[in-house]
Amino acid sequence: MATTTSARDVAAPERPARRAAPVRRRSPGRRRSLLPYLLLAPAVVLELAVHVVPMLVGAWMSLRELTQFHIRDWSTAPFVGWDNYRVVLDVDSAVGAQLLHSFGVTVGYTVASVGLSWVLGTTAAVLLQRPFRGRAVLRALFLTPYALPVYTAVITWSFLFQRDTGLVNHVLVDQLHLLDDRPFWLIGENSFVALLTVSVWRSWPFAFLCVMAGLQNIPGELYEAAAMDGAGFWRRLRSVTLPMLRPVNLVLVLVLFLWTFNDFNTPYVLFGGSAPEQANLISLHIYRSSFKTWDFGAGSAMSVLLLLFLLLVTAGYLLLTNRRRNDA
């Protein structure tokens, strides 16, 4: 539909002769109206197969008692209604309490990681805006973490964080003498710090890349005008750079939020299947509930709740930012 309309719109006013020609050649009737749908069909089928059907299956599973007894022929799993939701939402039970705990950990992790990544990425992009010798090298260097395969990068971090043989403790304890005792990084409280470090290291180059692209689009005249008016570096940053980066930042923060909140690779590779409590992110928790304790029903219920939460936050965020943009 859209294609025919736009073709007509473009062709209509000035070139009636060319407009007439295709109409004559086209055979009338059904096939013309079918073709767009036919062309759309592969995308629709893929969308159904990749997103919609698995999501529906997940929702269906969350209403079943799906354990090792039924996993092979999962369509026969007994229907339990909202039981799985009741259990995972009951914060007085161990299952619910653990889910709430890992939800809290994940919120803290996401806020800290997205915040730090954004600040680091923006700072680096702004500092690298003016040309200087070696800028290209520095840019390439900054993007390395983004280009490395996740597994390789994170497993290297897990070596660095080893208590006895890791480089982190070697530098902190043996070289800088900042600490007397060698701390653990992969177990106990510090595991959250370790996880956050790796996460920020991995995601700030993406922020850097986006902000850098955004900066290229700010017309130089704006800075010239601001300079004429006597604005210093900070004033220009506040009044020109950041407002002009707004559209980029809106998308950037949302994407970083979704990626970080759902992050599975970083904790899984860093800690193995069983992360310390202090760094037990919700994605890892759902994985453990489903695949390690073989309770796929409860795992699905958790996934559905997570999806609803993310949809809600995303919708709220988009509404809020859209309204602000309209106000402005």
Partner: protein, 432 residues
Amino acid sequence: MSRRHLAILTAAVLAATTLTACGDSGDSSGAAGKTLTYWASNQGASLEADKQTLQPELDKFEQQTGIKVNVEVVPWSDLLNRLLTAATSGQGPDVVNIGNTWSASLQATGALVEFDDATLAKVGGKDRFVPAALAAAGAPGKPPAAVPLYSLAYALYYNKKAFADAGVTSPPTTWEQVAEVGRKLTGGDRWGLAVEGANPSENAHHAFTFSQQYGGEWFDSAGKPTFDTPQNVTAVKRYVDLMAVDRIVNPSNAEYAQNQSVSDFANGKAAMLLWQAAGSNLKSQNMAPDAYGIAPVPFPAAPPAGGKKVNSMVAGINMAVFKHTKNTDAALEFVKFMTSDAEQVALNRTYGSLPAVATVAGDPAFAAPEQKVLQQTLATTAAPLPQVPDESTFETLVGTAIKELFADAASGRPVTEESVRQKLTRAQQQMR
């Protein structure tokens, strides 16, 4: 225009379908010319080393039967998940290795061929197999879901030179002696004992043995979890106290999950190690067989009422066949080959494990001191982990709870009866 496109598309789809169909029609009658896929568990020093050990045997099998076997060695950390995925999807290998403690859990999925008497007859008959090993291959009262392939047991490995230097003349036989000897051996860069504190399965195995010794059980007769009984609390605390109270275990061991404890023992950083058939692994790390001694796993000096004389699980690797295989006969043929006398001697000798068939137990390959201790343990003081469907979940939950307790001990937080009970209670509440 579009009609021609449609015709091309249709032709392409048809061609693709035909090609796929051709791929499927490779099946013919008779086992010869068939190909099996085999997931082997990691037994030796590395995945590659295992492949090199297995490949000549598989070639031999192909020569004998015409059946080709494609092997993939799967690391332990991935194996259960991959098996579960294969069981769920019906897509996957024909023949697999499974840790014998998972037998009942995997049996519950209904994805494995059951070895009833008729099926067992095809692989040489029930009587070939060591009874204790066969008993650990499925839920009680049901036909086994697998057959044993390699048998293992836990033993105490100790560094002879370190013992001699400290004036200790014989290996400890009680936990009290372990603590005492361990303190003598701890000093400088060396610690008394190495443990694999962040490995849930390893922790769960010790939880089982200690619990038996202190009169506990992890499941009642109905298969319901009984994690937080006083006996289990005492048992788990005894194990973690080796680090928390006796201080003979390096706190760093709390983050070990990649067999670093074996390396520590091989490198002399630890004087004792509790492990199953560590010999081949130690050899690959250049520790000479006469540098270490092997003794049975110790017991409490004064076992409480109900305490059992159990110092190892019946450890081992089983071989199972997926029901979804299109080549059941070829798969069983392969199982028969792997459990034949010749292969049992060859493979178990390489891996330092024990044969799962009774016929070759007397082979000189299994007369080394290490194998003798393992054999003795399996024959007299080993017990199988509870063969209940929730067993693999027990390993995950209790093993992780102990990992957290080790983390507490390592970072100087007290490990009390109360904190142990809390963790075990929480683990139990997650079993539904």
